[in-house]
Symmetry: C2
Subunit: 453 residues, 2 copies
């Protein structure tokens, strides 16, 4: 894995660590690195902000890095475009219609790349923009939610080698028949990571409106601490549970192709020293990296969007799980936690959680399709629940983590309704009203408010 | 030249001439024709208007025609995009910058084609949109003012043969290196005509905010009459003098490739009978077409944007014209009328007109670059002039047309300052204050207010 100048990431050991750089024009690293920056819609939200993005990218380029930038559409633009579509056409899932929505939506990022290239040129930095099809970023033909299949790096590399900053429209690609596709909401994260993987970039920096990944939501626990590093696996577990910092597919992608990913804020002043910026935010890293923190639990995730449903007294025979969940899946309802405990007296209880918005429909489906053939009519549910999870790569090699979690909850008098575990996560379903209390208790119990020794 | 069903254009001779059609679903022509529609920015100015465009196109498609539609960007959109560009970057002529402006501006038409395809689909008419590069429309690489070099008809034909309306983004193309280009303001007209030429369309209908080409500006002469037909040559002469209905390059293109072009209003109700719509507006046609009108003079054009400049007492020796106009051209100033009369006493007077905005600069250029080496310092000019022209293909074969013009002006006591003639046009430069008077007198003198016998 190529690394860009390591001085960037250990500035305290560098001789110039205390020097303030301003514009980095005079700072030439000894080793050139290829860096990908991704800027979200808020960061690109106005021409003034775009000029700040250009100044920040220029700072990195002048420091000697080869720069690729993947911006999102200006905030509000994608909604504006899809709003226009709604005014001329009713919603539908016809592929011919989805194709046109992609034709429309892809313009948002095309505007962004053009403006950012102009802003960089105005800063005196040679820059060129590319749409998805120009790179090309090849995808399948699943319009509005396409998946990237390959990225050709030839054209981008040629422009980088010619000394230009290359700006690539996020969120979009081209299918094998030459139609424009988009990757779905948040797809620009995935674009950036895929581009970084294709170019074997030293690091992919995701500039966003938060300054990193926290041990838990600071609005719930004021002592929540920003993590300097977090593993991909932990990030995946956290992302799927409401720490919506990155599109989850982009994290999977980064893990699969081993792209070092850093989440950092685009609202720090653009002219903070590069050496300082390069170590800010949270680096999403690989297990075994030396920089990894030693904490067993990295963060507390929580989610109050779910409802639990139980089917009680189910005859314990093969095919029961499929019989229940098959009907739910057929109704296009997504299921999160699934729990089935050992049976007694030939009967078992089967529980799962769905999104709260799907609760009533799920109950209807069960009553109409499942109960009549199942041998039980005891369907129960509760929408006033929440899910709280501890996440940590270290859980695999440490015993007693789950019981420490249960003790902390017990000490607060919180009753646990369901428990589900994976290798690096333990989740409990509890009464919604205890959510903040539980999160704070767990944050304290696992010393997440303490700086890493 | 293939013609679409002639019944369309002579409805009064058709057995169903009095029938009101409403939606033309039941009307299948005996001969299928390929028709190109072009809609300007005003016609595409809102989602409601786009839905009306879709309904109009659907009417033509349901009547059995193969339909290609070339829309402009929604009115105001191109200005909005270029306004954003101005906010991030100072103006400049650097090709790298022009390239990004094209990247940006091309999105306006991409939005239009996507929305129109959606609106047609919502009408139940299969439709697919293409950007310039998808067709592809190949151009040279003169960003922001590229010229079309070729259009590949294969992909469009395949979709037409599959029964779809094909919507092509106007104003844009792709150069040989895969960069997006645009054709300059009004370029969608040229796109439409070029597409019609490439597909050998039966007719290209330009829907705009006027209902045809008039004998002169109805705001000046209330009796001005809409021409049912006008020749390409006449249209060129009129377009270059202020009848700004069509981009002049599109008319040249149509003449060169013999594309029958019709200018008509997009503000008639979308559901007027197709047979009536198909003969409305003004058909721009070829000399010798049977439909040609017999009038000697077709229209009166005028223009008060110019200023005249004279260099008097110029030594009559070879190279004088180049010496004077070369310096003006070097300063990127466009010259319109140029007049040099026979010399007397070895001296001649040299006159020309420029745009009023260029007047002061032209005088400066002449004084700085020309006068010092010319042997005369008599440079005069006047910004308070106008140019009035009579245009007509019949002028070639009729004598006495110019003198009839001069007599009409003389009878109104209007002094003629300059005269310039071409095969199908005679222009005079007169005092600006007589412009309306002159136009009305000429309109009457050539019986333009009378219906064609």
């Amino acid at each position: 894995m190529p690394r860009y100048n390591p001085w960037f990431i250990t500035p305290w050991s560098a001789p110039w660590a205390d020097v303030s750089f301003g514009v980095q024009q005079s700072f030439i690293p000894t080793q050139m690195a290829l860096i990908v920056h991704k800027y979200g819609g808020t960061s690109m939200g106005s021409t003034e902000r775009i000029r700040n993005v250009a100044r920040r990218v220029a700072k990195w380029a002048r420091a000697g890095n080869q720069m690729v930038v993947v911006p999102s559409a200006m905030s509000g633009e994608t909604n504006r475009l899809l709003g226009l579509a709604k005014e001329v056409s009713p919603a539908g899932s016809d592929p011919a219609m989805q194709r046109e929505l992609d034709m429309l939506a892809a313009t948002g990022e095309q505007v962004s790349v053009g403006l950012l290239a102009l802003a960089l040129q105005a800063e005196g930095v040679p820059a060129i923009s590319f749409t998805g099809w120009q790179v090309p970023v090849r995808t399948n033909n699943a319009y509005t939610k396409a998946r990237i299949e390959s990225i050709d790096d030839q054209r981008v590399r040629a422009e980088l080698d010619a000394g230009k900053v290359v700006i690539i429209a996020g969120f979009q690609g081209i299918d094998n028949d030459g139609h424009i596709t988009t990757l779905g909401r948040g797809g620009s994260d995935t674009s950036a990571v895929a581009v970084a993987a294709a170019l074997k970039a030293a690091e992919c920096l995701i500039f966003t409106d938060v300054d990193g990944v926290y041990t838990t939501d600071p609005r719930v626990v004021p002592e929540a601490r920003r993590l300097a590093t977090v593993t991909f696996e932990e990030m995946l577990e956290m992302a799927s549970m409401g720490s919506k910092i990155l599109q989850i597919r982009s994290v999977e992608f980064a893990g699969k192709y081993q792209v070092p990913l850093r989440v950092l804020s685009s609202f720090t002043p653009w002219d903070i020293p590069l050496a300082q910026e390069a170590v800010s935010g949270t680096l999403i890293t690989f297990e075994g990296d030396e920089t990894m923190e030693s904490a067993v639990v990295s963060g507390i995730a929580f989610n109050r969007d779910e409802a639990k449903i139980s089917v009680l007294g189910v005859p314990d025979r093969p095919g029961i799980a499929y019989q229940i969940l098959g009907a739910v899946a057929d109704a296009n309802i997504e299921v999160d936690v699934i729990i089935q405990n050992v049976s007694h007296d030939g009967k078992t209880d089967f529980s799962f959680t769905v999104h709260r918005n799907d609760y009533a429909r799920t109950i209807d489906v069960l009553k109409a399709k499942v109960v009549p053939t199942l041998g039980t009519d005891r369907v129960e549910g509760d929408t006033r629940i929440c899910k709280v999870s501890i996440v940590g790569i270290g859980m695999r090699s440490h015993v007693g983590i789950a019981s420490k979690m249960f003790r902390a909850l017990s000490e607060e008098g919180i009753n646990i309704q369901m428990i589900s575990t994976s290798e690096i996560k333990t989740s409990v379903v509890i009464d919604e009203k205890y959510m903040e209390l539980a999160v704070r208790a767990l944050h304290r119990a696992f010393d997440l408010d303490q700086p890493i020794g």
